[in-house]
């Protein structure tokens, strides 16, 4: 039997395929965990360098889309993936806040390894963190 030629797929296409497979239901039982967990496993591997909280959100978003949860449609998935995986384009002097928006401050410098040193408004301390742990000023209310 002739094999189909290899084709590169985007991550979004892979996720959409997995959702279609789940909907076709090739097994009598447990189609959801088979295909949604495939997406979750891929997401864990691809986003291994993202901080834990976002990694969890990314995997959860992917799993909800594949499982066919109505609130997570293609647009929501795409927006969510872009937002969650985006690295802020930050530079010294930018105003930032933590993900839970409990602390805010100003970036004093960006280290060579990509970590960010910022001065916290609330405590006055200099904090070093990853770019994924901060949100840029436009998310501040």
């Amino acid at each position: 039997m002739a094999r189909a030629p290899k084709k590169s797929l985007t991550f979004l296409e892979v996720i959409e395929h997995l959702q279609k497979f789940h909907r076709r239901a090739p097994f009598l039982f447990f189609n959801g965990n088979t295909f949604a967990e495939l997406g979750r496993g891929l997401s864990h591997a691809l986003f291994a360098d993202v901080m834990a909280i976002r990694k969890k959100q990314l995997a959860s978003l992917v799993a909800h889309f594949i499982a066919g949860v109505p609130e997570v449609d293609k647009k929501a998935l795409q927006t969510g993936l872009e937002e969650l995986s985006r690295i802020e384009d930050l530079s010294a002097g930018d105003r930032v806040t933590t993900l839970k928006k409990t602390l805010s401050g100003t970036i004093s410098r960006i280290n060579g390894d990509g970590s960010i040193v910022w001065k916290c408004d609330q405590t006055g301390a200099f904090i070093t963190g990853s770019p994924q742990s901060l949100l840029a000023q436009r998310f501040l209310k």
Binding site: G41, F47, R86
Partner: protein, 81 residues
């Protein structure tokens, strides 16, 4: 952001099988999605969340080791040739 395609390539069916078995309780056993067009995924409990975090960390550690090991073995082959 650096996407870890190297880790994604090293992912094996057995790794996903473990995740699928661990999270079975959150999915419908029957193919509801194909019948109704609306799927379901139960919200995570605190236990689920903790287990998920541990599984994720273990999976990443495991496939990172696998990638390093494969890198070393392919280097050996290159060195020999």
């Amino acid at each position: 952001m650096k996407l870890r395609l190297d880790l994604a390539k090293a992912l094996r069916p057995g790794d996903v099988l473990k995740l699928a078995e661990a999270n079975s309780n959150r999915y419908c056993a029957e193919p509801v999605f194909s019948k109704t067009g609306t799927g379901k995924l139960s919200p995570t409990s605190t236990e689920d969340s903790a287990r998920d975090g541990a599984l994720s960390t273990a999976l990443i550690r495991k496939i990172t080791r696998r990638v390093k090991r494969n890198g070393k073995s392919s280097k050996k082959v290159t060195d020999l040739s």
